[in-house]
């Protein structure tokens, strides 16, 4: 088995994040090996693949969320705006101000809806009209109608789907450059999912979005590019090692993939 990957030829100024031979380990265990990837700017990129193949692991490296895990270590380079994110001098907090993240489970702060939005904006030194920003962010996250009458109530007073959109609003309120989403719809019902997807369509005009999803239809609906990851058992390894199988335009991945494994996965004939 070779770790062959395809780098689509995206012109340099259109690349938001580049992975160069990225290998990620937790302690002695290599979770993901040798990823080469160029996330295009202003587009939606989807990560798909079986559970445990390292999608979240790679995604969380883009804004250094993995720094919180003590055993985590990374080899290779992740380049954002010409800067290696894992260079010594880089401040992870600054990285996260430009690369925001929406998590798998909705995690609003135990504060009012208004404060949930204002918190991040204030941290980023927002000097504009806060009321206006709150409204605009909630509108763009398609949750304004549900929230407008209870801005001072706790974020927990919303339903799960509304909470997730609140979290999206919270992220866009800080105006990041890139938004990372780790299975943002996995805790949502189909109607909320549809709303979040509409939100994404709306957002991609302004942001670069990377989304992890287990839902193929969703990948097809929202993404322009798709990266398929897989995991294989390696000799001498302590578990399955994830790797990037194929990265291409979404239409190509789903209609005529170059790799056998991709073909099997997208057509549902996967072990």
């Amino acid at each position: 088995m070779t770790f062959s990957t395809h780098i689509t030829d995206v012109p340099d100024e259109q690349v938001a994040i580049t992975c160069e031979d990225v290998t990620i380990s937790y302690g002695a265990f290599e979770a993901v090996k040798s990823v080469f990837l160029e996330v295009p700017r202003g587009k939606v990129t989807a990560f798909i693949g079986p559970s445990g193949c390292g999608k979240s692991t790679v995604l969380r490296c883009f804004n250094r969320m993995n720094d919180l895990i003590p055993s985590f270590s990374l080899k290779g380079r992740i380049i954002y705006e010409g800067q290696d994110l894992y260079a010594k001098a880089v401040d992870p907090v600054e990285v996260r101000r430009r690369i925001g993240m929406v998590f798998q489970r909705p995690n609003p702060f135990p504060k009012s809806i208004y404060e949930n939005i204002a918190f991040g904006a204030r941290i980023n030194g927002y000097t504009g009209d806060m009321d206006e920003l709150v409204e605009r962010s909630l509108r763009r996250a398609a949750v304004w109608d549900e929230c407008k009458d209870k801005l001072q109530e706790s974020g927990y007073s919303l339903s799960g789907g509304q909470q997730q959109r609140l979290c999206i609003a919270r992220t866009i309120a800080t105006q990041p450059d890139v938004i990372l989403m780790d299975e943002p719809c996995s805790a949502l019902d189909p109607i909320s999912t549809l709303k979040v997807e509409e939100t994404m369509h709306e957002l991609k005009k302004d942001f670069t979005i990377v989304i992890v999803t287990h839902n193929m239809q969703q990948a097809v609906r929202v993404s322009d590019m798709t990266a398929f990851y897989n995991a294989v058992a390696v000799e001498g390894g302590t578990g399955k090692v994830g790797y990037l199988v194929e990265f291409d335009e979404t239409a190509n991945i789903f209609n005529n993939p170059r790799q056998q494994a991709t073909q099997e996965y997208v057509s549902g004939r996967f072990g």
């Binding site: 101000r97 980023n124 030194g125 927002y126 000097t127 504009g128 105006q175 302004d206 670069t208």
Partner: protein
């Protein structure tokens, strides 16, 4: 691409150095505060040892087996107090363990509706909140006078046994033991109850399933499964009993004359400290510090042993 119009509104896209400084300083501050625990612990050992070193030099290990404590001749030995500390704690635990574990079983079995059990459990925990000095006062004016006739009866009947060989006439070792029992019961009861509650119900069902009676399953299944927590609670109680000062000081009689009798006045290390520290000077202070060091070492060993046992046993059963 973020719409460039509003980008300028975010003035802190780059963190100002002050922000980083606050972050770093906070990390440094909390690390230092945590380290303070270790420093205090170390300082306690250091201060007590330094202040004890003259007495250590003078009396050596003989301090531990010498039962004279005479400030006028400056001859100090802590045997009576050490013996008293170990004896009162041992007797108190001997009485408190069956009572506490029995109560814990009562509180986890369905003999009475759970509402009442919760109330009783809360009451027992309240007992732990009563200050020891108040228990001491109560012991002086209520417990000891009420108990005296009973102890006198025991003396008359069993006076030939050395432990009961003196006529109880007031403060003494036995009332101190009983007040210690009252003080450690809530610890043993509460921790044993929690440990028994944590035993998975399947275990009991398995025992009932093979025809075991209620008490067979308690003794053969529930107690062994909860033993790590119970022993942890007992060790905690032992640590508390060894170091308990006020109630004991007020009722033990503070006598440095060694006797085997449990009905005579006695002493413990902490009672010795509480009584004499205020008026002591010169070598007596150093001797008291030496006694404090002994107490610290004993409780330290008990506590470390407790942590070790709980860790070992909980690994085995979880």
């Amino acid at each position: 691409m973020a719409s460039s119009g509003s980008e300028g509104l975010y003035t802190l896209r780059h963190r100002p150095p002050s922000d980083k400084l606050v972050d770093q300083s906070f990390r440094f501050l909390v690390t230092a505060l945590a380290a303070l625990v270790a420093i205090i612990l170390f300082a306690i050992f250091l201060v007590v040892t330094l202040d004890a070193r003259e007495a250590i030099a003078k009396f050596g290990l003989g301090f531990l087996v010498n039962s004279t404590w005479n400030p006028s001749t400056e001859n100090f030995g802590a045997f009576t107090a050490i013996y008293g500390t170990l004896l009162t704690s041992a007797l108190a635990l001997l009485l408190a363990i069956p009572l506490g574990v029995g109560t814990a079983i009562f509180l986890t079995e369905n003999f009475i509706p759970s509402r009442y059990r919760t109330i009783i459990g809360n009451l027992v925990e309240l007992l732990a909140a009563i200050p020891s000095v108040v228990l001491g006062l109560w012991a002086i004016f209520v417990l000891e006078p009420v108990l005296r006739p009973l102890l006198q009866l025991i003396h008359r009947l069993l006076g030939w046994i050395p432990f009961f060989s003196t006529m109880p006439t007031g403060p003494g070792v036995m009332p101190a033991v009983l007040i210690l029992v009252i003080m450690v019961l809530p610890i043993i009861t509460a921790i044993s109850r929690d440990s028994l509650n944590q035993v998975p119900p399947d275990l009991r069902q398995a025992a009932y399933g093979v025809g075991a009676t209620r008490w067979t399953s308690i003794f053969k299944v529930l107690l062994p499964a909860a033993i790590s927590g119970i022993i942890g609670g007992v060790m905690l109680a032992l640590g508390r009993a060894l170091g308990e000062t006020m109630a004991v000081t007020m009722i033990i009689g503070n006598s440095n004359n060694f006797t085997l009798s449990w009905f005579a006045p006695g002493n413990t290390i902490s009672a010795l400290l509480a009584n004499q520290f205020g008026e002591a000077d010169g070598l007596q202070v150093h001797a008291l510090m030496y006694a404090a060091l002994v107490l610290m070492i004993i409780t330290f060993i008990v506590n470390v042993l407790a942590q070790w046992i709980v860790k070992r046993l909980s690994l085995k059963y979880s």
